[in-house]
């Protein structure tokens, strides 16, 4: 509670209400009004989230700003919200991304504007709910509800193969979620409660833990996405409109990793330890193999999509080495990846809006015509390849340090990403930006507009700020991470 307001509920419901208000503007005749309401709504959504940061107490691991109202009495489900050092950053990232997405779609989207803006606002609220829910069923409701706006975004405003991509995205993620639902019902039947925090103390046998872990794994691994259940992501990214790709990369992928931290590790600690080798192997495959796959892509969006999978491999690696620097590194990497991949997709979007092509071979020498854009793109490309001084470095370095504590060869494998990441990102950058002007279309390119400058500059500040001074980020999550690791270390058998 801040100023007598249930702040977490405000952070969830304000964007959703703004989204409904946008929908109420109706058809495309009122498109400008829809855009304005969406912008105001998303900025307000970010502003109300700021007190979460300023009022947050970093010295405690407990849930803060909690709210609890009985919701479905028959199943003892509560509308139970709370925030800790892990979810705080993800909520802030989400609230920060939404206005950028609204600005990015300002001119580009001309068809069904109100529905487009409303879908993003509503999704923003729902994702906040995912990060704040402390009740398992409430979490599940937000988790699944998230699919509906994303499905519509990909399917309505996406590229040529959007229908296939949208349905694949939906069914893939639903597959994992349904098994998670079974696991949650099992936990409820065993404990008589849907409170996630109660599950942390619930003793569970090793077989049951392994089944629960696998059920959660399917749900979260699909979202992260981990190899080999990543195949929906390149399709969804390529077909989604720019805003959709940004939200997918910056936010959607994070809910999977968040799920591991909130559910899998503390609820099934023994299974997590037993299966950590498996998880680490999958993470390393994602880091190395998907890194190589990214190298051969000819489509820019696909390349960034594969790069996202590879970076998220780092996150899962950091989570499953069970030490504090690794876990914190994983969270820092999540935030950083949210900024960097969002920025990369926006950069590709800027090019796509002008040329209507995502093929690397259609470009060349863009720097001659768009110098300012080239400078921004350069910064984000560097961050994507993990250059010190950018946010990309901070997270990767912490995870590698954590891995080094666990095992040298693990750290060695993980560190190859610095090579591959630089290779695929910079090679793409070179082919698109540098060289002679490739064709007449490139020759007609105009540099970025004020609107584009605005969102790229905001992201650039974020990327540099986090790269140069990451301490506040890890400081606020420190207590929560140690508490989490204490749960993981404590056997439930």
């Amino acid at each position: 509670m801040i100023l007598g307001m249930p702040i977490l509920s405000v952070v969830i419901w304000l964007p959703i209400l703004a989204g409904l208000a946008v929908l109420a503007t109706g058809g495309d005749r009122n498109a400008n009004m829809a855009r304005m309401i969406a912008l105001v709504g998303s900025i307000l959504g970010f502003l109300v989230a700021i007190p979460l940061y300023t009022q947050f107490n970093p010295s405690t691991a407990g849930m803060q700003f909690t709210e609890m109202v009985p919701w479905v009495e028959r199943f003892h489900v509560n509308y139970h919200l709370g925030l800790d050092g892990i979810s705080l950053w993800l909520v802030l990232l989400n609230c920060f991304t939404t206005p950028l997405v609204v600005i990015a779609g300002w001119k580009v989207i001309e068809n069904k504007v109100a529905q487009y803006m409303a879908a993003f606002l509503i999704m923003s609220g729902i994702v906040n709910g995912v990060f704040m829910a402390l009740d398992a069923l409430l979490f599940y409701v937000f988790w699944e509800a998230m699919l509906i706006p994303m499905f519509i975004i990909i399917g309505v405003w996406g590229g040529p193969n959007r229908v296939y991509a949208a349905i694949k995205f939906f069914l893939y993620t639903l597959l994992g979620s349904l098994l998670m639902l079974v696991a949650l019902i099992y936990l409820y039947n065993k404990s008589g409660s849907f409170n996630i925090l109660d599950y942390y103390r619930l003793p569970i046998g090793i077989t049951a833990q392994i089944f629960i872990f696998i059920a959660f794994f399917l749900a979260f691994a699909v979202k992260v996405p981990m190899w080999p259940v990543h195949t929906w992501l390149p399709d969804a990214h390529v077909e989604a409109p720019t805003g959709g790709s940004v939200v997918l990369a910056a936010i959607m992928l994070k809910v999977g990793a968040y799920g591991f931290l909130r559910f899998s590790l503390p609820i099934a600690p023994d299974a997590s330890h037993a299966l950590s080798g498996f998880m680490i192997t999958l993470s390393l495959i994602a880091v190395i193999y998907i890194g190589l796959v990214a190298l051969v892509q000819t489509d820019m969006k696909k390349l960034i999509a594969y790069s996202s999978i590879s970076h998220m491999g780092f996150v899962t690696l950091g989570i499953f080495i069970f030490n504090s620097i690794g876990t914190e590194g994983a969270i820092v990497q999540m935030i950083s990846h949210g900024l960097v991949s969002g920025a990369m997709f926006l950069c590709v979007g800027v090019l796509y809006d002008r040329m209507h092509s995502r093929k690397i071979s259609d470009y060349g020498g863009v720097a001659n015509k768009m110098p300012m854009f080239a400078a921004f793109f350069m910064l984000f490309a560097m961050a994507n390849s993990g250059l010190p001084g950018t946010s990309g470095f901070a997270g990767e370095f912490m995870v590698i340090l954590g891995a080094m504590k666990a095992n040298f060869w693990l750290a060695f494998g993980a560190a190859t990403t610095l090579v591959f990441g630089a290779a695929y990102t910079l090679w793409m950058f070179k082919r698109v930006i540098f060289g002679a002007i490739a064709n007449s279309h490139v020759a007609e390119l105009a540099d970025i507009s004020g609107r584009e400058f605005l969102f790229l500059a905001i992201l650039a500040i974020g990327v540099l700020g986090m790269g140069l001074y990451p301490l506040p980020v890890s400081e606020l999550m420190h207590a929560s991470v140690s508490d989490l690791l204490a749960h993981v270390a404590h056997s439930k058998l």
């Binding site: 009985p70 479905v72 009495e73 399917g155 309505v156 939906f170 639903l174």
Partner: protein
């Protein structure tokens, strides 16, 4: 010989409806075709008063009357109110549809009321004979309604199939009931329960009887492998009547199943729950997989109904109070979803155009964003995606089944519902992602449009606040004392 006047209050809604129905039957004869609207109003009025009567005479704990042949408790009252409301919604949705097809006749309304009366008797009966009486009253009226469009060969064929298979099912049911009578010496549900509990009945005969009863019930619900009539009847009947068959009778059938299995045969739960498990998994599987191949929306919804019945059985087969109340919640939500789905088909249809092909929904979002949104809510609710109420329906039956230890069936159920999500999503895809082929404006009476909007929003509102309806179901089952 003593004759005492029975207590009529538990049957007051039925008695009132019968009187009103007889009056409407006579009044309608003197109304000319142009003023048929009066019949419609009288019917709606009779149903509305019946709702009031039901609520006024509701009993918190079971009250038996007519020598134990009839019972009234909270479950029967809730289900009766549900039946009345869904018939009223149906009548409102279908008025325009019937007018355009020359079916806006007195027979439709009187048959509807007879069917409703049959359902009420099914819900309240506590004796095999009364149960059967109600079932036949409902079924015979429905057979006639399916054939109401006399010139249509497809409707007539559907009616014929419905009648033959329905009669077969009734035969099976009666045969099973006679076995149970043979084993226990009574037709009274509570007496049968006592005899079975006391262990005096011959177990072989009992189980034999249970098999036939379950098969008969399976036919009536439309569970696989007794589902063959559903797609043809749904497809062949005029949409208004398809909607009728698909909605309220399932409430009555639920009460019927519960009264026999949970009321009378509770000690044999182990036997019938195994049978229901097979029916349930097959229904969910076949219903969901076959629905994918359909190009006709009515047929698709028919298969979807089959799969919903599988989920309903999942709640019943857990054999616990928790499971029964989950199933009751499921069936109420199911009726609401079906009303909305078929209501949309009727709203979009015009003279000479049934709007029952999937392609007719292409680009609905461009034609009418509001109706597309309502349909979206209905489809996601049928698929069981939160935050729509369909999720809680599925969730509560899954929870009950898992609590009863049916892990394998639960996993099969979620996998089949994943498959099911595909064809519901396809409707959303057609509405939102495709360009419209048909640009004609959507016409429809305003009461129908408003009601349909409310119906769609109810999916969302009940999804956000499902608590009170769930509590009502739980309390109803508690009070019925299963």
């Amino acid at each position: 010989m003593n004759f005492s006047v029975p207590d009529f209050t538990p049957a007051l809604p039925e008695i009132f409806l019968l009187c009103a129905l007889s009056a409407i039957l006579v009044v309608d004869l003197f109304i000319e075709d142009a003023k048929r609207f009066t019949t419609y109003l009288l019917t709606q009025g009779a149903l509305a008063i019946s709702v009031v009567v039901t609520i006024m005479t509701a009993h918190m704990s079971p009250v038996h009357t007519f020598s134990g042949m009839y019972v009234s408790d909270m479950m029967t009252s809730v289900l009766k109110v549900g039946t009345f409301l869904s018939v009223m919604i149906l009548l409102s949705y279908s008025r325009d549809y019937l007018q355009k097809r020359g079916l806006f006749r007195g027979e439709f309304y009187t048959l509807t009321l007879f069917t409703t009366l049959g359902m009420l008797v099914m819900i309240s009966a506590s004796n095999f004979l009364t149960l059967y009486l109600g079932l036949e009253l409902m079924s015979l009226s429905l057979y006639a309604m399916v054939a109401l469009q006399r010139d249509s060969s497809i409707s007539t064929e559907a009616a014929m199939k419905y009648f033959v298979l329905g009669a077969l099912a009734s035969g099976l049911l009666l045969y099973g009931m006679s076995m149970l009578y043979g084993a226990t010496g009574s037709l009274d549900v509570s007496r049968i329960l006592e005899v079975i509990r006391s262990g005096q009945a011959n177990n072989n005969v009992l189980v034999f009887g249970v098999v036939f009863v379950v098969a008969g019930l399976g036919f009536k619900l439309g569970a696989v492998p007794f589902h063959m009539w559903i797609p043809d009847v749904y497809h062949g009947a005029p949409t208004a009547i398809t909607l009728f068959i698909g909605s309220a009778p399932k409430l009555a059938a639920f009460a019927f199943v519960l009264r026999i299995l949970a009321g009378g045969l509770q000690p044999l739960v182990h036997d019938w729950s195994q049978m229901l498990a097979i029916l349930s998994v097959l229904s969910m599987g076949l219903g969901n997989i076959t629905a994918i191949a359909q190009t006709n929306l009515k047929r698709m919804l028919a298969y979807s109904t089959i799969s919903h019945m599988g989920f309903l059985l999942l709640g019943i087969l857990s054999g616990t109070v928790n499971g029964y109340s989950s199933a009751m919640f499921y069936v109420l939500i199911y009726a609401l979803m079906t009303l909305g789905g078929f209501g949309m088909i009727m709203l979009l249809s015009r003279e000479g155009f049934e709007a029952d092909n999937l392609d007719d929904y292409r680009g609905l979002n461009a034609r009418s964003p509001w109706h597309a949104f309502v349909m979206l809510l209905l489809m996601f609710s049928m698929a069981g995606i939160p935050p729509t109420v369909g999720f809680y329906a599925k969730f509560s039956v899954l929870q009950a089944a898992l609590n009863a230890g049916h892990l394998g069936i639960v996993i099969a159920a979620v996998m089949f519902s994943l498959i099911g999500a595909f064809y519901y999503l396809r409707i959303v895809k057609l509405m939102y992602f495709d360009a419209p082929v048909d640009h004609s404006p959507i016409v429809g009476t305003s009461d129908c449009r408003i009601l349909l909007g409310v119906n769609g929003l109810a999916m969302l509102l009940l999804g956000i606040l499902p608590s009170s309806l769930m509590a009502l179901c739980a309390q109803s089952i508690q009070s019925a004392g299963f």
